[in-house]
């Protein structure tokens, strides 16, 4: 029994750390889907793009993946602004955002993946950093730095975003857009501009999320798809757009996945997220913390 208690403890701890990382991958969708109502299913592809930019910075120039991803934030922000501009002009202003908007992002997901395959091939890529190998040990619990550092980076990212959203004019405007775009327009603010900024932020978060993804696991272009279900499961369960809810939901999912792969084998863990999503959608679509 001793052994399995150790196993349980370790599975719980790595689940929490994994969940912290999932929160970083999801936070972009919490902004774009949860607050702006833009179904950006291509978000995981941008996360993978972030992994590859961190990989290039690391393998070609020897930079730290996390620092390089922070340096690259403006580039990702501009990419997001550009994509939102196309989306806004082509779909939102025509009032035709649902089917074609979805197909648009699906196409972008696919194009990004194919381009990454054409450029980098389907080999798994890794990064090298001082915190990839070692672990901390507290009693019987192992804390691999490979998971601990991403979790801390992720929580910092979300904390900064939360501060930005609640304490700056633009951040509050984003929340206002989420609640009532029409009212915002009556206050003589331009919802389009606010949404462009917010969407830029959501894609920018993919840079950091991508960097910590490639620290946690080797990356190849098609793993983006594994994250679609996780991201939306977390986002919906977290109550669409609530940052705190996103973190809690991400940790619940991380713990469940970690327990599943510890006790049943890793080949079952993708089904956990998706099963979770299906159950959430069927039973409580407003999420655990959402106002129904």
């Amino acid at each position: 029994m001793d052994l399995s208690l150790d196993l349980l403890g370790n599975a719980l701890v790595s689940g929490v750390l994994l969940g912290g990382f999932y929160a970083a991958v999801t936070i972009g969708v919490s902004i774009s889907f949860g607050m702006l109502d833009i179904v950006n299913i291509a978000h995981p592809a941008f996360v993978i793009l972030g992994s590859y930019t961190a990989y290039i910075a690391n393998s070609a120039f020897g930079f730290d993946p996390i620092l390089s991803s922070i340096v690259l934030l403006p580039a990702f922000y501009l990419l997001g602004v550009a994509i939102y501009h196309v989306y806004d002009v082509s779909f939102e202003r025509r009032g035709d955002a649902s089917i074609r908007g979805l197909a648009f992002f699906f196409g972008i997901l696919f194009i990004t993946e194919v381009i990454l395959v054409l450029v980098f091939g389907v080999d798994y890529r890794l990064v090298d950093a001082p915190y990839v190998g070692p672990s901390l040990h507290i009693g019987v619990i192992d804390l691999p730095l490979r998971l601990l550092v991403p979790c801390l980076v992720s929580l910092t990212l979300i904390g900064v975003l939360q501060l930005y959203m609640s304490h700056t004019v633009i951040g509050r405007a984003v929340q206002a857009v989420a609640q009532d775009p029409m009212a915002l327009r009556l206050m003589a603010a331009d919802p389009s501009r606010i949404k462009r900024i917010a969407f830029g932020l959501s894609i920018a978060s993919a840079s950091i999320a991508g960097a910590i993804l490639i620290i946690i696991q080797p990356v190849e272009p098609s793993i983006a798809r594994d994250y679609i279900g996780r991201i939306f499961a977390i986002c919906v369960m977290g109550g669409l757009g609530s940052f705190g809810g996103t973190v809690v939901a991400a940790m619940i999912l991380g713990i469940m996945e970690s327990l599943t792969s510890t006790f049943y084998g890793p080949s079952w863990s993708p089904a956990v997220a998706f099963g979770f999503l299906l159950i959430t959608l069927a039973v409580r679509p407003a999420g655990l913390f959402g106002r129904s």
Partner: protein
Amino acid sequence: MRNVRFILLALAVAAVTLAVARLIDNAYVFFAGYVVLQYIVLATAWNILGGYTGYVNFGTAAFFAVGAYTTVVLHKTVPLMPLPGMMLAGGVISGVIGLGMGYLTLRLRGTFFSIATLAMAVVAQTLITNWYFVGGSRGAYIIRPSDSPIFSGDYIQYLFAIMLLLSVISVSIARAIQHSRLGYGFSAIRDDELAAEASGVPTLRLKLIATALSGGLMGMAGAPLPYYVTYLDPASGFSLSYAVNTIAMPLIGGTATWLGPVIGAVLLGTLQQVATVTISSALSLLIVGLLLVSFVIAAPKGIVGWFKR
């Protein structure tokens, strides 16, 4: 009456296609033609739900692969069963899955349905990957019989003929729906679901019919796949390119009518076959993605929309 005439016409076109293909007498024509026909069925099936009612299904690969794996199971348990029987079984199982999916998620906003279909594809893939009876992640081998059972010729000719018949059936169904009460109900849901509900259109029931029908046809399209590829593993059966193609074809052809998916499938399917042979398969997928994005931005009504002004 108009439907009967259309079906007869479609059968005549199909017969001519088969005759021409047999006249060319090149196995590659059948192999390439099969894929194009398969996409006609998939695109038409997708459009019954996606084009008519406006609910985007990203899970084509799941319905398709469920059909294919039904054949693998039947091939192992009842090897003497004829292929049309297997297709029917695959269609029924996929249809029931579509119904269950729809029942769980169709009461929500359309976006949630789309995300759930994406999720379902991964759940199904995980289940198949862990199911050793059908080969698990190593995949399953199926030995293709050498000769066609009904007319003289290679077995691929038989597969081609069956897929031809299935595309006639699905296009006829799609066309019949478009001009029926059911079709008007579907368009009412697409245009304004709340208003449709308020005017007494049984929206949930109609949506469930669309999902089951669309899923069933996709399953039937997938059922002959194991005989076509002779080796089926989860990664290829659940390939995302099925989902992308199936969405791209109707959107490029035009989603409002039965003709759009057919045009899209023939154009895009042929283009891909040519590009795969002459350039590379990754690049041909890139072309599909780029076409999809440029069409949804620049030509929202698809190719059919160019001619209807």
